[in-house]
Subunit: 454 residues, 2 copies
């Protein structure tokens, strides 16, 4: 539905641009939410982008538009914008988004922007830039409401009006001591419903979920999701309140992490490549296929090694696809279950033995079922010609071993990686698939040579 | 980090259970957030679960625990709980969670619960149960604050204290007309900062994002994420306010949808199977492998068909793994990019031709590069023995065709499914992989027979 709406919006805007219907464009641009405009921007020329951007009257909408652009659209578009203009927009943007965008600017432009910013603001942004991108520090906003526990509810509300007009969504008010250390939290709702004279101390919650600045963003997101809170305070090593991470950022983190995991598992790096040009997209995907190329070349040396076997029973070749296919598919099942299970917390890396044993067990059961089925099919097709049931038996056993190995390797590798804190998703791409292929092929020829007495 | 903490918690609780250290257990259970307890519950016997549950003093925590349990843990555990006890817990739970849990109860128990609920509450829950699980109606909560536009800010705050003590997180107050139709929205923050005598009409926002009760939950989640709002109002066909979907549910939806997509693409159904027994997990995974089994059997009939070719040049078999592997891997790249691109909105189904052409183009470029490389390796290994370069050329062309076909099929199928509103992720599992395998094998033997003049 919203896809259709965007398509219509895009076509309308393109038509009006062609016609040069400025007044109509201005009307549409200022009536449309900047998040929707950012989608349309992807398919416009830089020239048209610039035209539309200048039509946006509200600087907050300009700010939203800039932060919603995909990295690639942003990089091209930003070249048309002067430093001074950029500063005007940054003035209407939360500091974490400013820091993100500055990180994407060409270095000279970034320096120029930081230099010209008001000192206070620039310090805020530089502070944020000093944290690692993927940590609580890198994603927090410094816009929060911090009050002393002596304040009453009435004073807090007054202060909200006077001192913190910029804080966008103050769901929670944080209570700090004289050293800015976090001691309590009060929700806006509580503030409204208690008697105005009550000091914060009397109704604040002291049992607070907080995170350290260097905590990985995925961990932060999990905490917000688990405890259903709208924002989590970020503190430094001395428990001083540095910023908050809000729930809207948490949504982005989860979506981004899921995308990264899927791309890594498919062996396409971790950045989304579809929005890039054919050339750069090819360049990103090229190296990931190298593993499977090397594996394939290795496989033909292995099969070359069994030259004699193959010469005597040509039909052995006919079963390679089914053996590789069954192993490949069950391996993908196992590794996907493990990678996603670890990411969502349904599996924990410490349960290594249980998880892997269970997968192996499932692989063996499914291997017996499908091995039998495929052996039967092989016997029906080739039994008469060969005058022996041993080929069928070999094929069945090869399917069994391929599926068991695939379930074992497919679950073991990501579990081990998870345990030693390497991203399990990386472990599960082409490398694992390729190793399973090679081991399966080798086992197959070994079994056949043995059983057929070649 | 939080994983380690849960592990420690679990071990401590297990140790105390063994020792029967009731007092210590009570202390721990009531100090721990119910969301954390729910994780520990997975690995406890029903008996121990029951013991811990009874120790929880706060009924709200009991409610959180019940709603956080995984479906399988819940099903076993709930058998120990009487209807009356369940009602006491449901009293402390938002209506949408109650509806979700009732849907998971055995039918007799569900009926008994609905019958004994207070009429008003039971109507609320039955209303929710009447919507499809995956729609806005199925996930909304009926707990919202709705006021008339005549009300002043002061009256709104008073009403918040008096009339809506149960509404958990009133970020927004909705303004409705005499027919309960949604006409505006006011944020709690606005309410606090305007002059107390101002009527809502004067500062409410009338440009509201709202969704219909039958909108798919994924669409709802995308709207909340795109516009960075904390809750979206759900209206019926007459624009009457029925409930709201809050941002914490949106997080769950995104995580659930990502998990479902990954599992579907791996061919493991869409429910998470790892938490189930070996037998039921095997049963779920069995049918998904059937496609690849049938495909494999088909492949050996195809190869059998090229019996003559194969008898004359046995070495042809050696290249099957590399041809299938390269095709399989690039096919996975393409389909993952398309499926995730469609899910995150980076790609739209209407762009079918562009996306597929681009993928085909990338597939051909990579096919030329790797085809050349593999042909070279083949010539080095087998060139001397065979006295012809034609085998190497055949292999190179087969890799090229396999990779091009894989990129084409891998992107085309999910794009087409997306366009006709079938879930693209389903389209991308074992079916696509298997079809690519079969087409690749056939092309390979066809090319080789032709070029080698067999």
């Amino acid at each position: 539905m919203s896809e259709d709406r965007n398509k219509i919006l895009e076509e309308t805007i393109k038509r009006l641009l062609r016609r040069g219907a400025i007044t109509n464009l201005q009307k549409i641009v200022n009536k449309t939410h900047a998040a929707d405009l950012s989608v349309v921007f992807r398919n416009l020329s830089v020239n048209s982008q610039r035209k539309l951007f200048d039509m946006i009257v509200d600087y907050e909408q300009r700010a939203v538009l800039l932060s919603e652009l995909s990295e690639y659209t942003f990089t091209d578009f930003i070249e048309t914008i002067e430093v001074e203009e950029l500063l005007d927009v940054f003035d209407h943007m939360p500091a974490d988004d400013v820091a993100d965008l500055i990180a994407d600017l060409p270095p000279e432009k970034a320096d120029a922007v930081l230099e010209k910013m008001k000192t206070e603001e620039s310090e805020e942004v530089e502070d944020l830039l000093s944290y690692d991108d993927d940590t609580a520090g890198g994603i927090m906003v410094p816009d929060f409401v911090a009050l002393s526990e002596e304040n009453t509810a009435r004073e807090a509300i007054e202060s909200l009006q006077k001192d913190f007009p910029d804080v966008e969504m103050p769901f929670y008010l944080y209570v700090v001591d004289e050293h800015e250390r976090l001691v309590g939290v009060v929700s806006l709702r509580q503030l409204v419903v208690v008697k105005p004279g009550t000091p914060l101390r009397d109704f604040m919650t002291t049992d607070i979920f907080s995170v350290k600045t260097d905590m990985d963003q995925e961990e932060v997101a999990k905490i917000v999701a688990r405890y259903d809170i709208l924002a989590v305070p970020v503190v430094d090593d001395n428990n001083r309140l540095m910023g908050i991470v809000t729930v809207d950022d948490v949504i982005d983190i989860f979506r981004q992490e899921a995308t990264e995991d899927m791309l890594k598992m498919a062996g396409v790096g971790e950045e989304f490549v579809e929005t890039q040009s054919v050339v750069s997209s090819t360049r990103i995907r090229l190296p990931w296929l190298f593993a499977s190329c090397i594996g394939g070349i290795l496989a033909f040396f292995i099969i070359g090694h069994f030259e004699n076997t193959l010469k005597q029973v040509t039909y052995l070749a006919a079963f390679l696809p089914v053996i590789m296919g069954m192993g490949g598919n069950i391996g993908t099942q196992s590794s996907t279950i493990v990678v996603r299970g670890l990411a969502t917390g349904r599996l924990v890396a410490d349960d290594l033995r249980n998880v892997v044993c269970k997968e192996l067990c499932i692989g063996m059961i499914l291997g017996i079922i499908y091995g039998g089925l495929i052996a039967l099919a092989a016997q029906i097709r080739f039994g008469a010609e060969l005058n022996t049931a041993m080929l069928a038996v070999s094929v069945g056993l090869a399917v069994l071993s391929s599926m068991s190995i695939a379930a074992l390797v497919g679950s073991l590798v990501p579990m081990v990686f998870g345990r030693i804190n390497i991203d399990p998703a990386v472990a599960t791409g082409p490398f694992v698939t390729t190793s399973i292929d090679i081991i399966s092929v080798y086992c197959y020829f070994k079994i056949a040579t043995q059983l057929l007495g070649l």
